[in-house]
Structure formats: structure tokens, C-alpha cells
Amino acid sequence: MTTAALPNNSIPDRSFWQRNQQTWAPWLFLAPAILFFAFYVIFPVFQSFNLSLYEWDGLGEAEYIGLRNYEDLYYEFIDRDAFYTSLKNNIIWLVMYLLAIPAGLFIALFLNQTVTGIRLYKSLFFFPFVISQVVVGLVFTWFYDPAFGILNVVLGWVGLGPVNILGNEYTVTYGIILAGLWPQTAYCMILYLTGLNAVNPEQIEAGRLDGAKGWRMLWHVVLPQLKPATFIAFVVTIIGALRSFDLISIMTGGGPFGSSRVLAYYMFEVALSEYGFRMGYGAAIAVVLFAIMMVFICYFLWSMYREERR
């Protein structure tokens, strides 16, 4: 190597950094993100697992109690009916929330036309997703209000009502879910609108020549091409359903009589509200919720991994 003899390449021996930058550069670029993420996301997950084995009020000494928090949850020694009600409501949320996907597809099909002003219509239909869930919650609380809610006004026209959706322990969860479906449907709609834009027109024409129409066309020709949009819609809807917290907190505070709690809300109640600072018990609830989510997370990662390999 006699690079020094070359007149214009003025670096005689390349420094350590220049020789190894291809190996080290990625770690340099990753370092801040990994540090932040590890500190605030990865470690706390393990800390919560650990904490769920303790009894701790957030201030004093933590006492190791093994799996007793989980036993308390399983047998509901502490709050009667709280855990299983929350679990049941979580399942209702999960199932009902998925309605956002067909509803979003339906609206997307409805709006997938070219008439004047359709762009504005699409944006306005998407509107609910941009608004914070806190405001959505308030809006729907008033919508349902037994005294002046527009729902009861409409029901009154057809001689029904008045109903108090949020005051009835059998309807309250569905009432909140409907409020949640509003922005979520808008999200699924925009995913499908983008997907429909990219549907191959030649395949549609070919389908038409073969006599496919309406439902059959949708099912056999269009939906297979919308698969990536459907996948994302599933991911965001399932995660959204299990994360439901804001709406419950704003609309009912878990009531009436705790009948609209879900695990996410129950955990918050146990650890940070007037129910007292039972951090270990709260962490155990969080671990259960995490375990449920992990099933879905693993499935999503596995699907992504298959895509990467292709």
C-alpha cells in the first residue's frame, strides 16, 4: 500500500474510524433511540413483572409476596366481580371493535366515486379520527344524555325512549364502544380508500367480462387485493380495543357500579385513584393485559417476519 505516493489522495494511513465506520456507524445512529427506548419502554416492562410479585403502596417498603397478587385476582379476594367484569368487557370490546373494519370498508366503497367535492367529503368523513378521544367521549356523553341528548330526541319522534344508555349496566359498555367505533371506522375507511385507489383496474375489467358483479366481485377480486389494508386495519383495531381507556375514563369512570371497567381502566383505578395506591396489585393486572396483547403482538411480528423473508 503506497497511497502516500499518490499526490491527490492526501490521507496516508486511514484512521480507525475510516476503516471501521461501516461496522460502527449503525450503532452510533441507533444509540440514542435504543437508550431512550430501553429506559422508558423495555426496562419498565420487566420492572412491572417484578413489581407484580410485591405488595407496595408506592411510598414505603415493598414486601415480597410471591404470586399472591395473581391469586387475589383469580379468586377476586379484594374487589368482588371487578377482575372478571373487566376481562369480560375487554372481550366485548375486542369483538365489537372489529366492526370498524367492515363499516370502514362500506363507507370507503360508498365514497369511492368521482363527483364534485368528493375530496372534501372524504376528509370530513375522516374527521372524527383527528379529534381527541377525550372530546369524542364528551360529545357522545351529551349525545346519550337522557335529559337533552339528541339520541333521545330522535327516539322520541318514533315514540320510544327515553333511554339512559350510560346509566344502565347492561348497555353502558356497548354505548362506550359505539363512541369508540366512530373514530376507528374513520381510520379503517381511510386505509381502504387508499387501498381501493391501488386496485388493479385490469383485474376488475377481467372480472366484469367473466360476469362477476357486486358481492362476488368484491369478495373474489377486490378484497384479495385489499389484503395489506385489511392487515393494518386489524392491527390498529385490536390494539385500539385493548388500549381503551380514555373513553371509559371520560364517559363513565368505570361505572355504574364498575360495570364498564376494562383491564386497562381497572389497573389505573387500583394503582392511582382513590382506591388507594396498590402498585403491586395494579402491576399484576397490567401483566395479565400484557399477556393478552402479547398473543396478538407475536402474531403481528410473525406476519411481518414472513413478509421480510419473501
Binding site: 431512550f36 412491572s48 376488475i204
Partner: protein
């Protein structure tokens, strides 16, 4: 195009569609329209149980004036901005670098680090709640905007890195190789070659994160209390107890709180939708 375009249908179908479209929109936005109507009614209408009749007077300026000059709302709005803007800058900066590293270099741990970011992004908030609150207390940042910003940056980095990495992976790799042959250092490649190409992704992420953070409620409740640091989502509950049962003011407050992300969406619509629907098309 599916469904069949209206131009290829009989004119009657077109007329039905064009009359039905605005009706459907009004139904869809009915709860919001109701709140908008409430927010311009005078308070007297509510005490007289005139909920849905014509407003007895047009009180737009009175009601919104109350919100802006007679409550903590401006304070909460300012807090929201001071939390949201630094978070957007921080999360986009960190994830641009991380996305570059994961999208350009081939090394063994690459896919696992990527999956760590993706998985972390889906984790339920509650499993982070107690440790993050403790960490923030220990750092002396409880009930400060900084405490909230640091956490938001860290958490949003997960989603942003997923986004950036996929975007960079789709860029032509030959560009980077050509730069390397020229002897340009990796850091300069990032800054002068890749970053300019990433502008659409940076814009899309910035708008998305702005909306997500502005609308965050859970962490605002967990990490802050009181008007000196709470953002508007958490502040609105305090606002509503200040104006209990005064629906005209509560409606006006809700609209003010919801407005900034809505404005952001309408101004940056293209980027916003590009960000949300990334991956929805092959």
C-alpha cells in the same frame, strides 16, 4: 374502479347518490354538529330547556370569549404546544437516525432490534405506568412538561422507527453505494444523501405525531397534575368542573381543545394520509 363509476350508471343513480351523500355526511357528523350548535347558544337556553330549538341569540363571541379570557384554557393550550412540538422534533430526529441504521446496514442484530421497536410500540400503557411514573419522580420531573416530553419521545420512537426504516428501505440503495465509492463518510451520507430524500416521510411523521401527542390523555393524567403543566386533554376535565352544567361553555371548550390537530390535518392532509396508510398498499 370498484364499485362501478357513476358515469357508467343511469342518471337516476347519479342523482340518488348526490342527494344521499350530504345526508350521510350530516348523519355521520351529527354528534359534532350538535356540539357546534351548543357552543353558540346562550346559557339561558339551557336553563329554559331549549336544547334543540333555535338559539335565542347568537353568542359565539361571548362563549368563546369566556373560554379564552375567563378560564385556564389558554394555559392548557400553551402547555399542549410546549409538550407536542419538542416531542415531534425529538421523536422524528431519533427515529430518522435509527431508521437509517436499520434500513441501510446489514448486521446480525438488525431484525431483532427492529422487532424490539415494533413490539414495544404495541405494549399496553398500563404495564409501563408504575415504573415510568417512579422514574419520572426520581428524576424530579413529575408534574413537569419535560417529564412528559421525555417519555413521549421514547415511546413514539418505536412507531417512528418502524415507519422510517420501511421508508428508507424502499429508497434506491445504489445511491448510497455510489456515495460510498466516492469516499463519502457514513455520517455525510446520512445527512446529505438520505435525509433530503426522506422529506415526505419526515413531514408525514411530524403531522401524525403532532396529532397523537396532542390527543394523549392517559400519560397526561399519570405524569402531571394542575394547570401549570397539564395539556389541554387533561385540562378539559378541570375546565368542565369549573363550568359544571354550563353546556354552552363546555361545548366551546371542547371545540377549542380539538381544533389544533384538526387544523393540522386540513393543512397537511396529503402528508397525514400518506403517513397513516403507509403499508396499506403494496
Amino acid at each position: 374502479m370498484f364499485p362501478t363509476p357513476l358515469e357508467k350508471r343511469p342518471p337516476s343513480a347519479r342523482i340518488t347518490y348526490q342527494t344521499f351523500l350530504p345526508l350521510a355526511l350530516i348523519m355521520w357528523l351529527l354528534p359534532l354538529i350538535a356540539v357546534a350548535v351548543f357552543s353558540i347558544k346562550p346559557g339561558a337556553d339551557f336553563t329554559n330547556a331549549n336544547y334543540w330549538g333555535m338559539p335565542s341569540s347568537f353568542d359565539f363571541f361571548e362563549n368563546y370569549g369566556q373560554v379564552f379570557f375567563n378560564s385556564d384554557m389558554p394555559r392548557y393550550l400553551l402547555n399542549s404546544f410546549l409538550i407536542t412540538v419538542p416531542t415531534v422534533i425529538g421523536a422524528v430526529a431519533l427515529s430518522a437516525m435509527a431508521g437509517f441504521a436499520l434500513g441501510v446496514y446489514k448486521f446480525k442484530a438488525n431484525i431483532w432490534i427492529f422487532f424490539m421497536f415494533v413490539a414495544g410500540n404495541f405494549v399496553p400503557f398500563q404495564i409501563l405506568m408504575v415504573p415510568v411514573r417512579d422514574l419520572t419522580l426520581d428524576l424530579g420531573l413529575y408534574n413537569t412538561k419535560t417529564g412528559l416530553v421525555l417519555f413521549h419521545i421514547a415511546f413514539q420512537t418505536g412507531f417512528c422507527t418502524l415507519f422510517m426504516r420501511n421508508f428508507i428501505k424502499a429508497l434506491p440503495y445504489e445511491l448510497i453505494e455510489a456515495a460510498r465509492v466516492e469516499g463519502i463518510s457514513e455520517i455525510r451520507i446520512f445527512w446529505y444523501v438520505v435525509l433530503p430524500l426522506m422529506k415526505p416521510a419526515l413531514a408525514a411523521l411530524a403531522v401524525l405525531i403532532f396529532t397523537f401527542i396532542w390527543n394523549d390523555y392517559f400519560w397526561a393524567v399519570v405524569l402531571t397534575q394542575g394547570p401549570e403543566s397539564q395539556p389541554v386533554t387533561a385540562g378539559i376535565t378541570a375546565f368542565n368542573s369549573q363550568f359544571r352544567a354550563m353546556y354552552h361553555l363546555m361545548s366551546a371548550g371542547s371545540i377549542v381543545a380539538a381544533l389544533p390537530p384538526v387544523a393540522m390535518f386540513f393543512l397537511m392532509q396529503k402528508h397525514f394520509i400518506a403517513g397513516l396508510t403507509l403499508g396499506a398498499v403494496k
